[in-house]
């Protein structure tokens, strides 16, 4: 019946000076779900992401991936454990080509060392070929295969977002965390993104999605958590969330004020 839990966070807290950016936030993402995290600006969505992926050290919290507790202390270890992420303000390797960007994503699943690389041992050559093949396939998967040899910074905004997703997928994640992937996209691009995200889910990955665009979230997500001022405001299916009075208030202000 119910799918096993992929990511479970309990009581995640983070304080920046006098600002309680996250106040005991928790959520539970089932395997194969698209889980939405929404909230007004400054609600703590990205902080939650950064704490979960090890970019910030949390003040408190329990983190579990696939039933195994992990300490989000080092970003690269969280990536190794199986969480890959994209960034709100795109962080690509600008001077490297699109293909090379995705190839970097294969780094943690490959093993060639100094000697193998310098001597071009057969095993290293084979691995290198596999990395390139896999990267090409991923570029095609997200639909930007024709830009493989372009420098990442020369790609259009929407394509850069796709490239970030391809790069994240290259790490073979069990959980893909997308931080506002639709920011700055036009309606057509959003539609294409939505198709891509659904396809990624169909191919067996779990997705945690931060998004500003309520329409996109409501259409895509199986379950949603709403954050406001670093606190959990509401949790539930999109339909429940949409009619929740507190959520409407947080987004639109109180009815009395108008």
């Amino acid at each position: 019946m119910a799918e096993p839990v992929m990511l479970k966070v309990e009581g995640a807290s983070k304080r920046f000076g006098g600002l309680q950016a996250l106040d005991s936030v928790g959520l539970s993402v089932a395997k194969g779900q698209i889980y939405g995290l929404i909230g007004p600006n400054g609600a703590g969505k990205t902080t939650f992401f950064n704490v979960t992926t090890g970019l910030y050290v949390p003040d408190a919290g329990r983190f579990e991936l696939q039933g195994r507790a992990y300490e989000p202390r080092a970003v690269h270890e969280v990536a190794r454990a199986g969480i890959a992420r994209t960034f709100q303000n795109i962080r690509l390797f600008g001077e490297m080509t699109a293909l090379e960007n995705v190839m970097v994503g294969r780094h943690l699943r490959t093993h060639t060392g100094l000697m193998g690389a310098v001597l071009r041992l057969p095993q290293a050559k084979r691995e290198e070929r596999e990395i390139a093949e896999r990267a090409r396939a991923l570029l095609d998967y997200v639909g930007i295969g024709r830009f493989a040899d372009y420098r990442a910074r020369t790609l259009s905004y929407g394509d850069q977002r796709r490239l970030e997703i391809a790069r994240a997928l290259a790490t073979d994640p069990v959980l893909l965390a997308l931080d506002e992937p639709a920011a700055g996209m036009n309606a057509t691009e959003k539609q294409q993104l939505r198709i891509l995200i659904e396809r990624i889910r169909q191919d067996g990955r779990t997705i945690l999605l931060i998004e500003h665009d309520v329409k996109l979230v409501m259409g895509l997500c199986d379950r949603v958590t709403v954050l406001d001022y670093g606190r959990e405001l509401a949790v539930g299916a999109p339909a429940e969330i949409q009619s929740d009075a507190r959520v409407i208030e947080a987004y639109l202000g109180t009815a009395a004020a108008h």
Partner: protein, 366 residues
Amino acid sequence: MNVVSSNATRTPEWLKWLVLVIGAAILPLILQQFGNAWVRIADMALLYVLLAIGLNIIVGYAGLLDLGYVAFFAVGAYLFALLASPHLTETFPAIAAAFPGGLHLTIWVALPLAAAVAALFGILLGAPTLRLRGDYLAIVTLGFGEIIRVFLNNLDHPINLTNGPRGLGQIDAIQIFGWKLSRRLEIGDFEIAGVTLVYWLLLVLVVAAIIISHRLAESRIGRAWMAIREDEIAAKAMGINTRNLKLLAFAAGASFGGVSGVVFAGFQGFISPESFSLMESIMIVAMIVLGGLGHLPGVVLGAVLLAALPEVLRYVAGPLQQLTGGRLDAAILRQLLIALAMIVVMLLRPRGLWPQPEHGRSAGRG
């Protein structure tokens, strides 16, 4: 059919390189006709190429601005100087007793040993600077370079290890298969100068360095370095252990510096802390920036130009000096001209003389 003909007309990559290397190998034979001083200039140019290739791993690939690179060069030079000169046996009777024939480390041991020791120093420098970037890293590495030099200058007491500012002399010439590279080789009527033999040794080392560096750049390690250079946080998020890879970059780059140091000491026969000043570090950084950061052909070009230019300018500076009635000092004038050349190049070609080509840009949207 089409494929066959196009393959036949295009010169393969390796052939181009072979021609280039053979050309570089013949060069000193021509130069020595004009005097050994010219070959010596070429030797120094190759030495700087080797240094520049090493520094390029740290600065060009991994993006870690190191202003103390000359320290690794000094480590290699002093290592060889101490283990292949009479200094230690003269100063310490115990060592003299242990090695009655004197210390004469062969190049076969010295080169890998210097590479390893310099790599160790690279890690020593890298470890405390892992969290630093850009300007801050530059200042700390600059300090490191100076510390090494100050140590070399002052370790002549209480025990005389480095002989201080007087430097170390009587260093063995490099010996390969029993042949000293300081002697000239006579084949029939043809004479090959000692400096030419050193040149060939350096050329072999440079070719090896280029191959190693190129292969690293095109491996997963090289890609990880460049990812750290481009965006450290994103690199971490991709599962790259940035700490280990930065240390690896420092170690790999430093080892090239150590190897250059050995050849330098064996070639000069005398070294002193003066040769390892901050100015040298800055010159090597200038070479790779001028040529094209991170792009090997550019790095080689930049090193050759900046190493040879001062010598060529010697011939320009002389007449200019006479023109001003000797008021302009030739050495200062040379520095001035180099500075001027650098400013012009950086204004006209901010990414260096021979930067990484912008591939693919026009190929798709023709």
